[in-house]
């Protein structure tokens, strides 16, 4: 849909995500809207207190799938820049496990693209979350 070539950045990393740096990646001069989604480790899940999370990835395939999703989003909506960074390993409560920065000339594209990206990631990208509780742990893919 867009004729310009969007800037895409994909990464899977250990350790904290630099959110400020990611914000700076988002947005070209033609973009009037930037949207940053941050997925965070929260302190509860299905009624149980969560102490921390552990993320595992099939890294090489996950990067490919993330790239496909970013390309797909940029094809569907008028996106100037798209950055997706997923963290793996231990993530403590309040820390970001994933950040998605999308920018577009008008805000509607940014909202739609951002939502599409996170919804699709949760369906297709080979990354798994394990929740830790006071009394044990569980792979979240088991639950459904």
């Amino acid at each position: 849909m867009s004729e310009r070539k969007p800037r895409i950045h994909i990464d899977i990393q250990d350790g904290p995500i630099d959110i400020a740096a990611l914000c700076e990646r988002a947005g070209t001069d033609a973009d009037g809207a930037a949207l940053l989604f941050v997925g965070r480790a929260r302190n509860h899940s299905n009624g149980k207190a969560v102490t921390h999370l552990d993320y595992e990835a099939y890294r090489s395939m996950a990067v490919r799938e993330l790239e496909k999703i970013a390309q797909d989003a940029c094809g569907r909506w008028d996106v100037g820049a798209c950055a997706i960074v997923h963290r793996v390993g231990r993530v403590v409560i309040g820390d970001a496990s994933i950040c998605i920065a999308v920018s577009s000339p008008h805000r509607d594209d940014a909202y739609r693209a951002s939502r599409f990206i996170i919804d699709t990631i949760k369906k297709t990208v080979p990354i798994w979350k394990k929740e830790y509780y006071e009394d044990g742990s569980m792979w979240i893919s088991e639950r459904g």
Partner: protein, 81 residues
């Protein structure tokens, strides 16, 4: 022929390894390979339908024919984000 198996998350926990090379007969499908690999882990066999398979980093269906040196990853439903 030889095929590389990769496992992740609960599948790895159940099988007890994250990588292994297995020998299967030529022309095996993904479904046949799965029965072979999961055979020793009854808990996994029961929920084989819910597992996902990728061949050379692309999702593959059960009828996909596996070739020599393919990398076949077996894992549960994803839950990242």
């Amino acid at each position: 022929m030889n095929v590389s198996i990769k496992t992740f998350a609960s599948v790895r926990d159940a099988l007890g390894y994250d990588e292994r090379t297995v020998s299967v007969r030529d022309g095996s499908s993904v479904a046949e390979l799965l029965r072979e690999v999961l055979g020793g882990a009854p808990g996994l066999m029961e929920r084989a339908e819910s597992l996902l398979v990728a061949v050379n980093e692309e999702y593959a269906a059960g009828d996909r024919i596996v070739r020599e040196n393919d990398v076949v990853a077996i894992f549960p439903m994803v839950s990242g984000g």
